[in-house]
Amino acid sequence: MSPLLPPDEMDRRDFLRRAGLAGLGLAAAGALGWWAYDGRGPLASGEAGPQVKLPSYAVPGQDRKLALVKSGHRAPALRAGLEALGGIKAFVRSGDQVALKVNAAFATPPALGATTHPELVTEMVRLCLSAGARRVVVTDNPINDPASCFALSGIGPAARTAGAQVALPSAEAFRPTTLAGGRLIKDWPLLYGPLKGINKLIGLAPVKDHHRSRASVTMKNWYGLLGGRRNVFHQDINGIIAELARLVTPSLVVADGVVSLVKNGPTGGSLEDLRPTDTLILGTDQVAVDALAVGLLGLNPNQVPYLGLAAAAGVGTLDLPSLKPVRVELG
């Protein structure tokens, strides 16, 4: 190490050099201070990220469709129901990118009926691909550990085998969204990553008992698109379900009541909690589909407040005959 200056002597040149260095240092410090100066202090909250808005996934000309299939087998029931509504091609066209929003909330085996049945997933993926879909994504933000939910419910393996992608919720997949005119969904994280580039959204939900809201079917299924500490919304369960139904306009929803989880819902946990109800309900009107489905749980639509709230908000109708529902009986 050589000293900057010789110890004893300092000539004019050295002095000027030192003075120059000191001046540069002062200028640099001053400039940095000027540049970084903040006289106002921080805002109370951080900058909000860019908001996203879910588009409508409704297929033009396919609104107000409703079909009910009586069958003990999911795949044929789904095919028959879709036939009754004009075939899968009425909903999925060549080149479409389809998202299937399943209910994979719990890490339970398919036999316990707490999650969308993998048979239904397989058949729907197959039908979408056969109709020419370019890509099918199966997604949900479950309650239990996501990887375990998709694995144990059989949805993950079924979807992959059938040729779909499985999108687990990762922290980056969530974007804030706000429901226009909404009271609850304000700047709230939405599972948006898997829906990027998607132009068709299909909801596949089991029919389940739900102690707080009475029934969990296709509208409650959208809860799985929320992130964050979404459980605070249970304080107004009917309000949040109605807002979710306003937020999401699907291409099609399917309520699987081939076997219904009639008690101890929405987790179930025992075969005792299930009852064969041999019904698959499909439609483009979420309110109508759910209104039919709650009947499988022994409820009438008036006992399920969120149905009325959603109908009043214009999401759909409780006047089922006006939709001219198609009823199919498979032997």
């Binding site: 239990n144 500490r229 987790t267």
Partner: protein
């Protein structure tokens, strides 16, 4: 090929294999995930784990028998494990190499010279040994002869290594006195319940230490962007302390190479004592040489091969053999021509270390954590043994936490007491869920069966286990001062909804509470009643949770304006006349826990919307592993 090249290949291979097993301990079905990979192999090979669990439990569990192979090979080859296999040793050697690169021969010789402090590791070994053997005399009565034999052999090994003091008689007197004290102490404390065997060695045993450090610190850091080991970034409570110990151990190599191996490692000490009897050893073929000290300069073990070699310190790096220009150093069966010396342990200190080790478990337990002041926050994983038996087995390797799919298993911090440090405890808020109902992964990866390898049937209490019922980790308790429906007139019951057992362990009772002052009816019209005073928030009462009650009837409110309530009128309803009083009530489902059904999985706690200190929390009361903590009358 040079022998040191072969050694380096071996070191890199085993380090990679170790890291590979850490990655492969991922729950899943893909080829690189946990499906038969021997992810515990390094822990199994570590004979300290095997021997000490033999002392504490009387048996060697499953894979830990591999330690026998290591012992056998050490008796033949010397400390091959340290120099050729130990992945932590390889890391130490690498960092030591970094720190020594610019050093001259003289300084290297100084850094690699034997130091008296190298005996510390033998005292640590003696301490851990005695801590693990604390209640052995009592357990002899239970016929745990293999443990007693192993203990006697180990004691002889340690005591035999202690240098003969000035008076042989006084030593045996002291040893005899210690033994007598031990006996008296066993009999006395055994009655008091304080005596116990504690497997404290896992704190410093290098393989558990490295496994823990990789599992809970390095892997989570590396995996945060990669997402191979876990689908989401994984958090471990108190990881900073684990990481600090690991980083400190590595950085100390910059000061003195292989610092940990030379001064701390109790496993190295065990190998050192065993290595005294090894068939082959490093040594000089003739006493005289050119004294170039190249061997001493590059000696990893600090055993001074050029002079009277400290045979027990030699880690078989074989640098001396490779570097010697006179070619007088060999690996052979005869001892060094320049002489050999055994660890320079004073007997008094060995006895002191043993005595301290014996005292340690009772001292740790004097705090009452295994007795009346047991910590209800210490919720252990399913299949975990009762606390005393658990502490006799847990290596603190972190394999259970590594494999846990939800991350609910966490290393216990210092607040759980010194003896529980880094053992697994459930933390219901940090992971992606509570303990998943049908998961038994932790018990199947635990190398020492501190968590028993249970079946799903046993966990759920089904099939042959129906009579004993499900395994309970604890019980959920509702904090009514924090619970929304109990304390704040807000509906919720997320806990009830998420309870995974059937029938649910959380049930509700309905309660109607008034939320507004009484209103007077101005007039009624069908299902609409106009009230005064108005000033209601439009729509706020139409959420489905509010009811209107008057004398003789109660109806759900379906909507409201500032002064009008829309009702879903009950059957046989007569609209209230003007001037009648009505009240507005909120319908609350208030949760209760049924301790006969609750298994303590903590999913309710994880999902509780009171996001900080949850309004429902699981503590260890009623856990199956302690009958004395039961709440239920049977």
């Amino acid at each position: 090929m040079r022998i040191v090249t072969v050694r380096r290949i071996s070191q890199v291979f085993f380090l990679c294999l170790f890291l590979w097993f850490c990655l492969a301990a991922t729950l899943g079905e893909r080829w690189w995930q946990l499906r038969g990979w021997p992810v515990n192999w390094f822990l199994d090979l570590d004979p300290l784990s095997g021997l000490l669990t033999l002392l504490t439990t009387g048996t060697i569990f499953a894979g830990l028998l591999w330690g026998l192979a290591t012992v056998a090979l050490t008796l033949i080859l010397g400390r091959f494990f340290c120099g050729w296999l130990c992945p932590l040793g390889t890391m130490h050697q690498f960092v030591g190499w970094l720190g020594s690169r610019s050093k001259g021969v003289k300084e290297r010789v100084a850094r690699n010279a034997p130091r008296r402090a190298q005996m510390i590791k033998y005292f640590l070994l003696a301490f851990f040994l005695a801590a693990a053997a604390g209640d052995m005399l009592l357990r002899l009565g239970q016929g745990q002869w293999p443990a007693a034999l192993a203990g006697a052999l180990l004691m002889a090994l340690v005591l035999g290594a202690a240098r003969r003091g000035r008076g042989g008689r006084s030593f045996w007197l002291a040893a005899g006195a210690l033994g007598a004290l031990w006996l008296a102490y066993s009999l006395l404390l055994g009655r008091g319940g304080l005596l116990g065997a504690s497997l404290l060695a896992g704190l410093l045993d290098p393989i558990p230490l490295l496994t823990r450090s990789v599992n809970l610190v390095l892997l989570p850091l590396a995996d945060a962007p990669l997402r191979l080991a876990w689908p989401e970034a994984r958090y471990f409570q108190g990881a900073a302390l684990i990481g600090a110990v690991f980083i400190a151990a590595l950085l100390l190599n910059l000061w003195l190479p292989r610092f940990y191996c030379r001064f701390v490692c109790p496993l190295g000490a065990l190998f050192g004592l065993l290595g005294r009897f090894s068939l082959w050893r490093v040594g000089k073929t003739q006493a005289d040489c050119s004294a170039c000290v190249a061997c001493d300069a590059y000696c990893e073990g600090a055993c001074r091969p050029q002079g009277v070699i400290h045979a027990a310190e030699c880690v078989l790096c074989l640098n001396c053999l490779d570097l010697c220009p006179d070619q007088v150093i060999d690996y052979r069966t005869a001892p060094s021509a320049a002489g050999e010396q055994v660890p320079d342990l004073s007997r008094r200190r060995v006895l002191a270390a043993l005595g301290t080790g014996l005292v340690a478990p009772p001292l740790l337990r004097l705090g009452g954590l295994l007795g009346p002041d047991w910590d209800p926050r210490l919720v252990r994983p399913p299949g975990a043994l009762a606390e005393g038996r658990f502490l006799a087995r847990c290596l603190r390797c972190g394999q259970c936490m590594r494999v846990c799919p939800t991350g609910v298993l966490q290393p216990a911090g210092l607040s759980f007491g010194l003896e529980a440090l880094w053992t697994p405890v459930l933390n219901m808020t940090i992971g992606t869920s509570g303990c998943q109902l049908r998961c038994v992964a932790c018990g199947h990866v635990c190398p020492s069966a501190a968590i028993r390898p249970i079946s799903v049937q046993e966990k759920l209490g089904q099939g042959p286990f129906a009579a004993q019922g499900p395994l309970r980790l604890g019980t959920a308790f509702i904090d009514r001062g924090r619970c929304l429906p109990w304390a704040m007139d807000r509906p919720c019951i997320v806990c009830q909804e998420n309870c995974p057992v059937s029938p649910k362990a959380i049930f509700t009772r309905v309660q109607f509470n008034p939320v507004l002052p009484e209103l007077s009816v101005a007039r009624s019209l069908g299902g609409e009643i106009i009230v005064s005073p108005g000033g209601l928030k439009p729509g706020a009462l139409g959420t489905g949770d509010y009811y209107c009650r008057a004398e003789g009837w109660q109806a759900r409110i379906t909507g409201n304006t500032a002064d009008t309530l829309l009702l879903a009128p009950p059957q046989g309803w007569g609209p209230p006349g003007p001037g009648k009083k009505v009240s507005v009530l909120v319908r609350l489902q208030q949760p209760y826990v049924d301790p006969a059904r609750c298994i303590g999985c903590g999913i309710c706690q994880h999902e509780c919307p009171v996001s900080g200190l949850r309004a429902i929390r699981v503590t260890a009361e009623n856990a199956s592993r302690h009958r004395s903590h039961s709440l239920l009358l049977k």
